[in-house]
Symmetry: C2
Subunit: 327 residues, 2 copies
């Protein structure tokens, strides 16, 4: 089993690599080789006995895409992307990386004129949807994104489905929920508060809540996201069917419910480290986001998210804080 | 009023030009100039007093796209496309013309760094939808095309919406029904029989029906299609809202109902010129096509199709046969 990961240096990429190395197998086959691609060549992971090739470069450059698939990886996890906020600020960069990068990768696979037909797991996003929404968004709801990031993800989903239908590759797109609790420092993503109101208080720091606590989100942990990717790699194409892009399950809860879960896990003193300071811009952006799905197809195909936000908080404390927090 | 038409030499393009010249105005403004683009420079239409510029070339060539918009047309009708059958047979050509061509046009508009923000009317298609379907397809149904043509149309719809949202242009996408009765000779499109079973018998010729007469279609006449385009050019962006891609109204009827309409218009002898000869490939392709829509938004915005297939037959006899047919 040879695996290519694009965007290997990102948060999800690094966690996926660690999980794959820990398991030693993917789809019940021993992992012999990893090819890791990112803008700058990723570090070779320690603790992996197999071969590792690292590639640094622009995935939208056809030559780089060709190099990445030269060893004919059996499974490609295509994670490389410019995030939502940056794709909105820099339209050209978003189109270049999110769309042209994906197209270059898919084209490199198509151009391999042997019978090469790898499983391609593409990380899409619930940003493919845009308000107004029904109470729960069904699997067959329209794709009307309200960000350039979302539009680019839809465009790649369409290529993925068409390339799959035509037999150029064997694709599956997974629309990730909001990933919480995202580790690391606060960033400028409009969705950042969903994570920071849990992460900073557990770290003894103050967090700012820029929206009403009635705001809802659709969440899964980084650990669940990695599980989605690995599960997607092993699904039978016949079972997936022609609609290869799937909304992932998640936990629907309000900010108030997130804070209650934090309080149950860590106590009143930790939960008191959240300061409310409303931000009209973030409030407006968040209003266009989807927050509740009826993700039937993904559940039927065996994808599993956490059952509650309490579980998401526990995953964060276990995976990122080694079970300890600042009470 | 300066109007650019891409795909100006095509069937809809020529009918649109004739209608615009006949009216002399668009959006209540006198038409002063037409810029007509196609692969080969279109003929200058006679009977037009204003200026005409013709451009021949590949719209996916940025230089051609720049030339096409150099005169800053107020309204752009973007019709240029490779049809469904050809896009399926020649994947690269379909992507090049349908997707890259649209992107080059939109990019040329975006690159005009003044306040240029033309109304762009894009002809999409109901091929953006793919089975399985509910009884009537709502405006907020998922986009899961089953052809490369359909996938390319979705990708352009997404760009159109995002470029509009960002203020790069002022777009509206209209998803055309099956256009019947298409004038001219039979072609190899899988949908050709919807038109040929009306057109050939009226012309004294035999037509072949390759599917069961219970097969349903969603139809509008070429005349209605031109009316959709002109109506779309005049709609207020605020009225359209952020979901700029709209499914057009049409007539839902079975092949049996089409034939009954032909019989009512032209008699038994004409209707007897249809020979049934089933074609498993066409039957399979047609099974994936949408045939009934609840096109509420378009109707609310004032788009009008024919009320019955009888009306579509009459439009064909009037517009293409000058009221006469071979009894």
């Amino acid at each position: 089993m040879h695996i290519l990961i694009t965007g290997a240096a990102g948060m999800i990429g690094r966690k996926l690599i660690a999980r794959l190395i820990g398991a030693g197998v993917l789809n019940n086959k021993p992992i012999e080789k990893l090819t890791l691609l990112d803008v700058n060549a990723p570090q070779k992971p320690a603790a992996f006995a197999g071969r590792v090739e690292t590639v640094g470069g622009d995935i939208a450059d056809p030559a780089i895409a060709r190099v990445a698939i030269a060893g004919r990886p059996d499974v490609i996890f295509h994670l490389a992307a410019i995030v939502s906020g940056e794709a909105e600020l820099d339209f050209e960069k978003g189109m270049h990386v999110n769309f042209d990068g994906s197209r270059a990768l898919f084209e490199a696979v198509r151009a391999a004129d042997d019978d090469y037909r790898p499983r391609v797991v593409f990380t899409s996003s619930i940003a493919v949807f845009g308000a107004p929404f029904p109470e729960a968004i069904p699997d067959d709801f329209a794709l009307t994104p309200l960000t350039s990031y979302g539009a680019q993800k839809v465009m790649v989903e369409q290529m993925l489905a068409d390339y799959t239908r035509r037999g150029f590759l064997d694709g599956i797109g997974i629309r990730l929920p909001n990933i919480a609790v995202r580790p690391g420092r606060p960033n400028k993503a409009a969705s950042g508060f969903f994570s920071s109101i849990i992460r900073e208080p557990l770290n003894g720091e103050e967090a700012v809540l820029p929206v009403e606590d009635t705001v809802r989100g659709w969440h899964a942990s980084p650990r669940a996201a990695v599980s989605f990717l690995i599960h997607a790699a092993g699904l039978d194409a016949k079972e997936i069917g022609p609609r290869v892009n799937l909304t992932m399950p998640g936990v629907c809860c309000t900010v108030a419910e997130q804070i209650a879960a934090l309080r149950r896990a860590a106590g009143d003193k930790v939960a008191a480290r959240i300061r409310r300071e409303s931000d009209p811009l973030i409030m407006r952006i968040v209003a266009g986001w989807p927050s509740r799905f009826d993700a039937r197809r993904a559940l039927a195909l065996g994808f599993k998210a956490e059952a509650s936000f309490d579980e998401i908080v526990r995953v964060h404390i276990d995976d990122e804080l080694s079970g300890r927090f600042t009470a």
